[in-house]
Amino acid sequence: MKTKAAVLWEVGKDWSVEEIELDPPKQGEVLVKLAASGMCHSDEHLLTGDLPFALPIIGGHEGAGVVEEVGEGVTWLQPGDHVVFGFIPSCGRCPSCSTGHQNLCDLGALLGIGMQISDGTARHHAQGKDIGLMCLLGTFSHHTVVNEASCIKIEDDIPLDRACLMGCGVVTGWGSAVYAADVQPGETVVVAGVGGIGANAIQGAKLAGAKRIIAIDPLENKREKAMDFGATHTAESFDAALPLVQDITWGTMANKVILTLGVGNGDLLASALALTSKGGRVVVTNIHPAAEMTANVSLLDLTLMEKQVVGSLFGSGNPRYDIPRLLGLYREGQLDLDGLVTRSYTLDEVNVGYQDMRDGKNIRGVMVYE
């Protein structure tokens, strides 16, 4: 069939919205008519070349839509089902999936390849070439064919232009607080960086019962937004946060510090650890440059104060459990998704949306399809 998608042909070029040829789903695959896609910073990294995935590629890894057709051997989905894509597939069989760590599914190793999980070939073609898929998904498209392992069925009454945010940003932030930081009632939590991830870390810390939530961001509008999502205090920098946290905790500092910056910087780890209490934990959720090999940390302080530094992918959540669970919280009014979306775009406006992101205009932009 023919469909329309945003393709990146070369690093540094704009997204090219064009007609592509889409093959029917093969063994274990489904054809999905997308309703909406989040515009995540990670797709921008394709354009800048920071994410060195094979080109050409169809962007987008936060998507929600309706199943139109299933290939052979698909037993868990049928046409008409509403689905959210997980940016990491979950096979349900590997050691990680078998022990409640679906975010570390062994199929994640295929993410950078961008071809179908089942046989390593492409279903998407344009200008006579095979096209890869961002995170095996390619949600910047009106239709896509993906493996069943990437699909999480959701209930039909959830608006798809909100559900799409579950595929990456919301669970990553919320889980960073609830799972990776393991925020407990009464704790003091610092969230550094209030973007699409940090705003949800604040929401997670609040729901887990944090006594105080200190949001750090240099932009005033982000700090104001942080208060809407549940922060109790804000600071514009690590330096400004240090006396504030000392003051409000009577010098005992924060139990948990969650790093959700635009891009991480190893030099900042010491500042994060300075905000952390004895026995406290720093969670590193944001992406650091791949070539960065050093971080600024006093290992004596780490030992004597029994501090922890913990990495977290997808908020250490399980896509098949946490995506439906968080949508349940949204339905009950305990998770704000509407407040995250600053503006909606059509697929043709993809480059406008990313310019708005670069200009700092959006908390989150979302593309909504017909």
């Binding site: 051997g73 349900g92 069989r93 078998s98 409640g100």
Partner: protein, 381 residues
């Protein structure tokens, strides 16, 4: 195709070994040649009726008949043929069965609790997981299969979700035991009881489950492992599997553990008797120390609704009672993991097998179990 299987036609009867008709595998199903099947006590519970739904419950919930039933839920075999849509197995693969399927997609599978997979709810339905129809037939009737498996059969057809691929070099008898009894016992001590280095652990009932709870407690670093069993042969065997002390009964265990622990009693008590009668709980909780854990692993009569628990003591001494199925382990991770421990010499499996039987000798095997002659009996094909 034609094959031979041990069928139970009703409560209280012997197993009837006879020819059956076996259909080819449908969507998601696999034809398996059985190589070994464990004679587990749970199949005996179908003979005694302990695990059979009563007639009034059956009518209330409109459940299908339990019988006729092909027994067996412990097994190892080789894949002969795969149905459409099977992607994780191919002919020639060696597999362990899993008496609870692991769909990998439900809430429990998604959070590291495959032992509670939602598909386990279909255990009392007849037929295959996907369409509830039978592939097994005899005397003109559809046959149910124990735990969606029916391993007391030379060949069987089961869903891919009930099979765990294992390495080809492992002996089939060892694999068959891990598929239920070993994992259940070992996990009861290690995972559910949470045995920690230095703990005192009591295991009540030293059969195929209890012996592996003893092994697990030892591996987790227990200081004392006290094995309780009336049969002298089992007490002797328990010492070989890592017990530090043995006693013949709960009554005798009480003064013994009191003295051994200077009155602090056990940190973990694991209940693995043949049948979990409710009046055993008073003794079990007396053996459990302040803040201690009592794990209930053994199968109790389905209709039993009372047990001798002093709730005052439970609250005041902060004790906990925990149920467990499959030792609270994840079949797809833990069956291969336990088998790798066996290969490294850290888990005794060969020593568990007292005797092997042919399928035709199944009733003799179960009589030996009733007579307390076996730690484990295994059918080899």
């Amino acid at each position: 195709m034609k094959t031979r299987a041990a069928i139970l036609w009703g409560v209280g009867q012997d197993w009837s070994v006879e020819e059956i008709d076996l259909d080819p595998p449908k969507q998601g199903e696999v034809l398996l040649e059985m190589k070994a099947a464990g004679l587990c006590h749970s199949d005996e519970h179908m003979v005694t009726g302990d695990m059979v739904v009563s007639e009034d419950l059956r009518q209330m919930f409109e459940l299908p008949d339990t019988f006729p039933l092909i027994g067996g839920h412990e097994g190892a075999g080789v894949v002969q043929e795969v149905g459409p849509g099977v992607t994780s197995l191919k002919p020639g693969d060696h597999v362990s069965v899993s008496f609870i399927p692991a769909c990998g997609r439900c809430r429990y599978c998604s959070t590291g609790r495959q032992n509670l997979c939602d598909l386990g709810a279909g255990a009392l339905n007849r037929g295959q997981i996907f369409d509830n129809t039978s592939r097994h037939h005899a005397r003109g009737q559809d046959l149910a299969i124990m735990a969606k498996l029916g391993t007391f059969s030379e060949y069987t057809v089961v869903n891919e979700l009930s099979l765990i691929k294992v390495d080809d070099d492992l002996p089939f008898a060892a694999v068959s035991l891990v598929s239920c009894g070993v994992a259940t016992g070992w996990g009861s001590a290690v995972e559910r009881a949470g045995t920690a280095p230095g703990d005192t652990v009591v295991v009540v009932g030293i059969g195929g489950i209890g012996m592996n709870a003893v092994q697990g407690a030892k591996m987790a670093g227990a200081r004392h492992v006290i094995a309780v069993d009336p049969v002298e042969f089992k007490r002797e065997k328990a010492m070989e599997f890592g017990a530090t002390h043995t006693v013949p009964s709960i009554e005798e265990a009480l003064p013994f553990v009191t003295q051994l622990t200077w009155g602090q009693m056990a940190d973990r008590v694991i209940m693995t008797p043949g049948v979990m009668y409710g009046d055993l709980m008073a003794g079990a909780l007396s053996l459990t120390g302040k803040g201690g854990t009592c794990v209930v692993t053994a199968v109790a009569p389905m209709a039993q609704t009372e047990s001798s628990v002093n709730l005052f003591e439970l609250a005041m001494w902060n004790k906990e009672i925990k149920g467990t199925i499959f030792g609270s382990l994840n079949p797809r991770r833990d069956i291969p993991n336990l088998l790798s421990m066996y290969r490294e010499g850290q888990l005794k499996l060969d020593e568990l097998v007292t005797r092997t039987y042919a399928l035709d000798d199944i009733n003799a095997g179960y009589q030996d179990m009733r007579d307390g002659k076996n730690i484990r009996g295994v059918i080899t094909f």
